[in-house]
Symmetry: C2
Subunit: 427 residues, 2 copies
């Protein structure tokens, strides 16, 4: 396959240019899927490989079959729904995401990417359009990682980030393995993953951040995903009574930890605009009101768009921690625990997203993905891009997660046209 990915050589017919998805149908499907695991506060709790996840999968599979797609399930439970192309031997143009949610998740995270891909297929069916390359809708298993780690499990296996056996052997808090859970909901598939990696992979997703909304933009052309370095830090001071211990005699682990929290924030600010630095987890010991904390465990999450910046963040963190430890007379252990490389997306596909947006009258904004997505793993094996649409207040992983129907529709139209550019329309 030596063709360029984006088949711009063949200008689409006017009929294709004017093609639009059905926003109401997309919204209706989103709302119907959101009923499975609906929470009282308007969110969704559909943890990976639970009975509810099984029911959600069944619904999506039924819709896919109703759209004439061929459904296969691979051994980690990824679902592939295929629409043949005129040249069906070509690698597919794939789009998808996940339908598992956080425990107090929303209706759109993941679900939007899957149902937008389905809506693209339905739209092509309505218009009786055949693509040159086949299309595939992918539903990746356990993106959220709330019940089983690692996160992005299905796409990780697909991309070879870890092995199938490793993933199948993971257990939830009750000791149930991924393999057992897949069997019990009937999604321990036997199909091989597509023999060839996809020709292109697109993922439409709510932004889960506030940038598009803050700029009044509807379409984000995602240029890549931030690299991530996660650390566990242990600050060791000396536990002592809050009353009898003079201020100057203290080895207060929490004072040092507090300076580290502020330093992590400052270091990220110094590497604007894309660097991020967050302390999200803090455990204080003994955590008693009148005892000077002797030990604090905290997490540090550093992110940047390129590895050079990640390295700078890493050295700044270590340097600063050393200074704080010395001045506060405590010791600090810095343990790296996770590294995700920065993942640029395929420039041709990002261009296809921009072009699709422009054709639809939207001025796409270049953004980076700060969070992990299945697309980040897919980008290791196939040209990949993402399309972001705004979500209210940037809030996600939350029952109040909300998105405008018009924005979801616009993103889906961009997906449609980006996919058509890659797959080509049969004459």
């Amino acid at each position: 396959m030596n063709d360029p990915i984006v088949a711009d050589a063949r200008p689409p017919a006017q009929r294709v240019e004017r093609l639009r998805i059905d926003g109401a149908r997309l919204w209706g499907s989103l709302m119907e899927l959101a009923r499975i695991g609906a929470t009282p506060k308007g969110g969704v709790c559909r943890l990976a490989l639970t009975e509810l996840d099984g029911r959600g999968r069944d619904l999506v599979v039924r819709w896919a079959r109703e759209a004439g797609l061929t459904v296969r399930v691979d051994p980690i439970g990824n679902i592939f729904a295929r629409r043949p192309g005129r040249r069906d031997e070509l690698p597919a143009v794939m789009a998808g995401s996940h339908i598992d949610t956080q425990p107090t998740g929303g209706k759109f995270d993941g679900n939007y990417g899957v149902l937008a891909a389905l809506e693209v297929v339905r739209t092509l069916d309505d218009a009786a359009i055949t693509t040159e390359a086949p299309l595939e809708i992918a539903v990746w298993t356990n993106e959220e990682g709330s019940r089983f780690v690692p996160v992005m499990m299905g796409s990780g296996v697909f991309a070879g980030a870890f092995t199938l056996d490793h993933a199948l052997a993971q257990r939830d808090a009750q000791g149930i393995s991924v393999a057992q859970a897949l069997h019990s909901i009937g999604y321990a598939g036997e199909a091989h993953a597509p023999a060839l990696p996809p020709r292109a992979y697109f993922e439409a997703h709510i932004e889960q951040g506030p940038v598009l909304e803050a700029h009044g933009r509807v379409i984000g052309a995602v240029t890549g995903a931030l690299g991530q370095r996660w650390y566990d830090l242990v600050v060791q001071g000396s536990e002592a009574h809050a009353g009898p211990t003079p201020m100057a005699s203290r080895h207060d682990a929490l004072l040092a930890a507090s300076e580290i929290v502020l330093a992590v924030h400052r270091i990220a600010l110094e590497h604007a605009p894309h660097a991020r630095g967050t302390v999200g987890h803090v455990d204080v010991f003994p955590n008693s009101r009148n005892v000077i904390p002797g030990r604090v465990r905290l997490s540090v999450d550093l992110r940047a768009a390129d590895d050079a910046t990640l390295v700078q963040l890493d050295s700044a963190l270590r340097r600063t921690v050393d200074v704080i430890a010395a001045s506060r007379r405590v010791s600090v252990e810095v343990q790296p625990v996770v590294y995700f490389a920065p993942q640029p997306f395929a420039p041709e596909l990002v261009d296809a997203v921009r072009a699709g947006a422009t054709a639809l009258g939207h001025d796409a904004m270049d953004v980076v993905s700060g969070a992990g997505h299945d697309a980040v793993y897919l980008a290791r094996v196939a040209p990949t891009a993402m399309i972001f649409v705004p979500c209210a207040g940037g809030i996600s992983h939350n029952e109040v997660e909300a998105a405008e129907p018009a924005h979801l529709e616009a993103g889906c139209n961009v997906l449609l046209h980006a996919m058509l550019r890659c797959a080509g329309v049969a004459a």
Copy 2:
């Protein structure tokens, strides 16, 4: 009783001046009592009103009776062991402390004060010395508050800080009331507390802080106890994803909380030497590595030797919190939860401690008690003073709590002579 408390008018006979307690006997009693509830790491776990506390009390009562003392138990379980005076109608000179411990407590906290008082009596018996005023050893119920709150329960009832009924009604985590627990170990006494408040109350105690050790001093003359103001703070920001949320868009509750931790420390330093400021307890929500904390609960513990300083600390805290809340774009609720007034001790008795130390060749160091003690409640109803001796590294409420036999002996000798100065020696 219009006599001065300290009966310096009658110069003690040389025999009395040379009187010394038996350090080995004191140490032996401490070690024997520490066997009841001994922990593998060399500490003691003898929570208030447990069966082990009952056995500890039985041992102390047996020793008291063997020393010829009359033992009474009041309705909150305080034990009073009385040695008659020549003028037995006088209010007693009392000394004591508590024998309940923290869950991972040491051998000396509390126990020293009780057994030092017992050793004083044994020494007087050996020397066949009668005092003018009677002596009382007090063993106060539930000073630690580990099983039942409020802390300093027995001395609190004795001093009228709260009612007997309130104390008896308190329940532990298993729902057992103080009244039930007292009955089950046989220490629900019926004796009335002494009709008159004591003529003087002394409490010998390990310092539980590092000051004496740092200054190479053996005897601390405690001039009073710090006042305390405790607060619960809730910082409310906005929970958001660590990845997609730009640094400048955040409402990070933990950043604000970290600034508050540092501010509490700084405010206390600015009111040196006696002010203390500690954040000991922090809970972060949702406490997830890759989520910007939306809410943090933290405690603040402010202490000072006088109320004017406590008021300054309080205003400085509130002022600083307001500035931090505004600059970090979060809200902070400040809820006062506890107020203990600063408690100066009786100057005459503190002088008696200093004089006792000097007579024994020790240069007493004036110190303040940063922690609460039974003596702090006693000081509300009787002239009171405390004698501190060093403990290793200032460590207490810990199984590794340690004190030098020579220091314990010295403190007990100071107690002996301070008590004799107050009680007077019968000619």
